[in-house]
């Protein structure tokens, strides 16, 4: 089963590659559309700024490629900035149009609310509360620790309820943690850095890619 890590020249891909290898995936880090066509599932990583990331995707023609993935029904997982890119636009540095696959806009955290100062980035372990069940995730045990590792300064706002699967709260603000629409999933935190629960989430996402690939062969 082949996972294509979409390489647009941003961020540290080593940790995510290693996490996928530990889950027995064949991993291809590439921006080559011919190679990407052979993949069973896609991971859109990303560290850095939204405008840079979008312009790199546009230059490589990957924006168009990712948009048409919706129709192929192959699973796509965006992580951190990779999740933010799935939204309509972002106010990071300047207003930049995103991939528009999910409903919502990327905005900066409010750095203060009435009660307390809010430190930015939102950095560290925060538990997720699930409001619905992603198609690829079986029921969670209520006792399970759902702490995941976040590190980001911008978050998804004006989202639509049925696309937000799990959230955390930070500084009185709701932070969409896992989002999903059809074959498109986003994780604002880093599952590859989120200990056993992160491994479980990534493992379940990989399992559906594997199941789907088996059905098709």
């Amino acid at each position: 089963m082949k996972i294509g890590v979409i390489d647009y020249g941003m961020g540290n891909l080593y940790s995510v590659e290693q996490a996928l290898l530990r889950l027995n995936c064949e991993v291809f880090i590439t921006s080559d559309i011919k190679v990407l066509n052979q993949m069973d599932g896609y991971l859109l990583p990303g560290v850095g700024a939204f405008p840079d990331a979008m312009s790199r995707l546009n230059e490589l023609g990957l924006d168009v490629y990712i948009k048409q993935l919706v129709k192929t029904n192959k699973p796509l997982l965006g992580i951190c900035l990779g999740m933010q890119l799935l939204y309509e636009d972002s106010k990071e540095n300047c207003l930049t149009t995103g991939l528009g696959l999910l409903t919502g806009r990327i905005q900066k955290f409010n750095d203060s609310d009435s009660q307390q100062r809010v430190r930015i980035p939102h950095m560290g372990w925060n538990p997720l509360s699930f409001t619905q069940q992603p198609s690829w995730l079986p029921d969670l045990d209520k006792e399970d620790s759902t702490h995941v590792y976040f590190v980001h300064s911008f978050l998804a706002r004006n989202t639509t309820q049925h696309e937000v699967v799990a959230s955390s709260t930070y500084g009185g603000q709701v932070v969409p943690g896992i989002v999903q629409k059809g074959n498109i999933t986003g994780m604002q935190f880093h599952p590859e850095k989120s200990g056993p629960f992160g491994k479980y989430l990534l493992g379940q996402w990989v399992r559906q890619v594997r199941d789907r690939e088996r059905q098709n062969t």
Partner: protein, 252 residues
């Protein structure tokens, strides 16, 4: 709600952990990757590797340690020590480190912080500050070169300048408390924590679990770091966390 982070620090020299580590359970307690794994299992929220190698070979070995750690561990870690250029940062981050920490090199050339933040994002750039109380000046002054040279900068002003340049986190060590095991320097930590809007890691002085409780409740700092009390098993990360949890501090 965001949990408080407990961060063990590993001093690494020429690829080996220094500070006589006493872990009979480990096959090779001098192996940074083995020790990192042990701390991960104990519930460490992050790790910091401080490379104190002097030689060029030692620094190359560190890249290897980072790569192996990233291939084994699923928690974030920071690498500091001898990072002087954007290229040094690139090497460590590409090898799988989540953050790099800069100290002396950032004071010598503050623009390094801005360059790092622009290239990798603020969340990757930690500025480590070694601070010591000056009776004469009535405030904490910043020291460089492992605490050997006093600068003209106050800890509070430098922390503010560093975050203005793009630091995403401050690792604050009290040289007065370091090694004393009598608790974190609450006044210094409070002063810096109040002055900046990024997360602050308190360091220097941890002697027991109660000290972590004090720094988290009296200063509301985001994270606390310790080295020797974990290495010498005076307490463990799981013990610190269970005491914090009992007392109502949210931890993972």
């Amino acid at each position: 709600m965001l949990t408080k982070r407990i961060i063990p620090c590993l001093d690494v020299k020429e690829g080996r952990v220094v500070k006589g580590v006493q872990f009979v359970s480990l096959r090779d307690a001098g192996d940074p990757v083995e020790l990192a794994k042990f701390y991960d299992e104990q519930g460490a929220d992050e790790l910091v590797f401080l490379d104190i190698s002097a030689s060029h070979e030692g620094k190359e070995t560190m890249v290897d340690v980072v790569r192996k750690t990233a291939a084994t561990l699923a928690i974030p870690f920071t690498v500091g020590g001898g990072i002087r250029t954007l290229n040094d940062m690139k090497k460590m981050l590409r090898a799988g480190a989540d953050k790099v920490s800069v100290n002396t090199s950032a004071i010598e050339r503050p623009q390094l912080i801005a360059e790092g933040a622009a290239f990798f994002g603020s969340q990757c750039i930690v500025v480590a500050i070694d601070a010591k109380w000056s009776q004469e000046k009535g405030t904490w002054m910043v020291y460089t070169h492992g605490g050997r040279h006093e600068t003209e900068l106050t800890a509070v002003k430098w922390a503010q300048e560093a975050t203005r340049l793009g630091a995403g986190e401050i690792l604050l060590t009290s040289m007065d408390q370091d090694g004393e095991k009598s608790g974190f320097n609450l006044a210094l930590t409070q002063a810096v924590n109040d002055a900046v809007n990024v997360p602050v890691i308190a360091s220097g002085g941890a002697g027991n679990a109660q000290h972590f409780y004090d720094v988290f409740t009296k200063v509301d700092v985001d994270a606390a770091l310790a080295a020797s009390i974990f290495h010498y098993k005076e307490t463990s990360i799981s013990e610190v966390k269970s005491i914090l949890r009992e007392k109502g501090v949210t931890v993972r």
